[in-house]
Symmetry: D4
Subunit: 167 residues, 8 copies
């Protein structure tokens, strides 16, 4: 089995409902994915160890999803020079605004590319990871281009169905 | 020199203007303070090492100030069982709301006691630390009680001055 | 029966669903807890009387939970020099943002250590109280350290289960 | 000197710049005003004592201004059955949103009538107090009606000046 | 039948669920209430006509509830010198924050006393109206004082029940 | 002098700095503009009278700018069937969020087309008014098309200057 | 069949529940409506092509509904000089605040008239479109005036029913 | 001159103060940068043309900065399969919250990696771009690793200086 080029990590069971959308989207592109539960606050050393060797283990992109004071993406980014994509997960009283600000407002020097809150963000995290890996993988680039074209066509198709309904 | 019982840590030069209020308030109670610049994102291993041994080194409370995606207090709390007080520092576009939510919205299992944003919070972080240390330090407890009584009297005094001005 | 070292107070029936998590978490550490319904707005004198003598009655930490214009933690803190932990409780139209800001944005001079909104915050309030009491209770410190280690292990365990599911 | 029917209270020196607008507006209606610095957090017992006897001392309305976790209006309201008007005062990182929510989001059972943030609110607090006192003071009612009429005329006058400028 | 001293107005059917709490609370004090559906945006002239003559018709307080761009309280206040209490009603996407800001942030010169969002606010609007009318109605003042005392006692009672449950 | 087709109204002197951008932009298209200071809260009857006859007087679009609890656009819209454009004006503690929500969150049945906060919004209000009037004014339509083309060209020009600077 | 003068466009199936209210309201005025699914992000070229020729095809107003980073209205406005009305659609974690700000905060030079979030906004978008088309369609103007009068009467009717219920 | 692998685009002169930090940071890594002013709203076709051919022209990453209803990053992403990094730029009344939400809350299917608001974000956009390009450029990877190490050392150095100051 080849070494996965993308890792998807998150901190708790409740995040899986969101993050599995990311994992499934990556697999839909035939990408192998390393999935791991790790927590910036509950198992910080595992996060550090994972991030520290992620590049030499062959990863190219790391996607990290977390809610509330969402420190996971930033903690991963602190210990690697790989591109890190953060997925803020909604939950609790503030509807994900806490997770969004915690993920996106990184101090200068340690970058995280943040996507939208929740399921939309989880899917886009996968696509952003694909766009990065595809820079040097012509076959994946082609698949992604096809996905985007089909997506545009699907809008036309939805419109056709709406016209039928409206008639 | 005795081992300081309180540590005040923060991540960047720009935080000092706020955090020195905390340090000065602690010193006003004749408390020795360990002050150190460390960054959850730029020097995460130092944060971990510091937090991991903080209890055995004799610290009783750790105050951590940070802005933006303020991960410092949570990162310290992740590696110690000491009480950790977080000071959200304002700055940038969102006026400290990002730092507040990042500091206060900790996931269950790793507690941080968060105070208000900026200078008011920094002073209160010192007083909260004093209230904790004073639980087993009768002399400090007395000083803190005196501080609070004088503070109440100062309100009366300010009122007296206002009455003079209004006359 | 020994005097409880931790008090958990809150203002209305609707807060109990959140605050019982705090009480249960404290009891899981074999800590005796004084629980009392009192309201900063509806029974302010009881709050004042409770807070004024809390230290001499032997309490070491007070946890106060409240929603909306959450004045309870601050009102308690105004009449005691003990460490006070505030739990903002969500409810109503603003999702707990009102309770959070009311609890955390204390003016300089009267500190409250605020935890996250709702159930996550209630659990962390208990753990923060434990971390304070444990400073001079070696047995409790050991229990808390064990709790934190098991919590880290639980992440590993959850990851193992996820790997099984993903296989 | 007759007993003032309106009291204006606030907690710190920095509130005076805002609250003096309230006091001056009340005096412009020839109303005597009791002004006092008192703090819900720093001198809570004075607040309680003041509020408890305010009705029997002859007050009809109490205006309370405070910033941050603005507990003053609610604390006054907790100990009196007089109408209480709260003025949220801006300041610090959150621009007065904290003071607004703390003042307005009172739990059911203890009412506060909240006006806008800062100087506009301070002036309106005076006018709201006037409208209450004027219910049983025909002379004041007439003055207030005249104020409102002149205010409407001032809009016409400002428009006339603008037309001159635009010509 | 005596002329009601309190009017409760609101703009749409959907507001009734909230505003009936206000009406019922007023009636619990044996106060007659004028209730009327009127809309600042859909029937502005009726609002103006009502407000313009409200004082001479014998009203002492007007409570106005509205959601979204909640202009009703301000529109009423624009055409009367009576005290006006605004109730922001939650609803729609922003959870009542729109109604709160629209109601409370009145420009200087036309005061509205705003209470909390939704049902808690509706009840407090009634109590604030009671506190105003009671200034010159000793019997109502006594009833309101009794209500407040019973409310304080209810907290004690709730605490007693909780103690039973905890035993 | 022909009857102006566009009216620009606003409630206070402090709004003029923003609204004059709207007026100047309209005049740059050689449009005659009726400008008038009127206030939804301080001179509500003038607003109603103006709006009620605006259509028969020949106006085609009304632009209304206001800050805080910005009721002007909605109050105008309540009394006319002409298209009304609202400009939320920043000011005070909340940076215009209050004015934005008050202007845009109109209840169903009385429409307001809201533009952005402050000067950007004021300019766009003028352009939106132009786009409406231009529907039946070919000369104006041509001028507006030219404005938009020049605006696109200005981007190219700015880019050219940047390239020079970067060289 | 005559060329529709109003177009209603939106980007995804989930928007239809909101936008059909707009379409139905337009049809209730016997207006023909062009309805089309198109996405600023998924089919940007279709949006551009549609907007570029919308004027010469005979459209007078374009209504565009979108959620999240709601770019549709702005993207349409970027390629046409017709009046564009934006409907922010709620959805996801932030309750439509993201869609509102994305729709309303257009940069100077490209105007969008934004209505309220969700269903209330969708209905008002239709009415605003009607008010624009009715400027040069006396029959439509009459219908719209009748709609508004009936709407005002409906408030009176609702009030009458409430009085019955309250008796 | 080799083809630049990174493009930095933004829509207006006022963005340059922020975006030049991004450009300078990229150049500090000896990366050639294509810089261009283009506007999603004022010159949408140029944006489309640029994005459509960006991949075949040899770009690997596109950084897009914009304020307010910040559509640029999303509009670029809509027409390319390259990784796109969005920089929300503060400005105007809402402090960049509008730009943040417009940039980050992309609908599923078209990904943007969003960094923090303003200058911190601009620097991190450069570093994120570097991390992506460095995946297949060992020399750049080494430089970036060195940058990160020096950055960690700088924290230690700043701490040393603080200790001197505190002595």
């Amino acid at each position: 089995m080849p070494q996965p080029r993308v890792a998807v990590v998150f901190g708790s069971d409740s995040d899986w409902d969101v993050m599995k959308i990311c994992v499934e989207q990556l697999r839909a592109f035939d990408l192998d994915v390393h999935v791991e539960v790790m927590s910036a606050h509950r198992s910080p050393q595992r996060v550090h160890e994972f991030a520290r060797v992620a590049r030499e283990e062959g990863f190219e992109v790391i996607v990290a999803g977390a809610g509330m004071s969402a420190a996971l993406a930033g903690t991963v980014a602190a210990s690697t020079t790989l591109p890190v994509i953060g997925v803020p997960i909604e939950g609790g009283a503030l509807g994900g605004l806490d997770a969004l600000l915690s993920t996106v407002q990184m101090p200068p020097g340690v970058p995280v590319g943040c996507v939208g809150i929740g399921q939309a963000g989880a899917r886009n995290a996968a696509l952003l990871a694909v766009s990065i890996v595809a820079l040097h993988d012509a076959q994946l680039a082609e698949k992604y281009q096809k996905f985007r074209t089909e997506q545009a066509n699907a809008v036309t198709e939805r419109n056709r169905k709406l016209q039928d309904k409206l008639r």
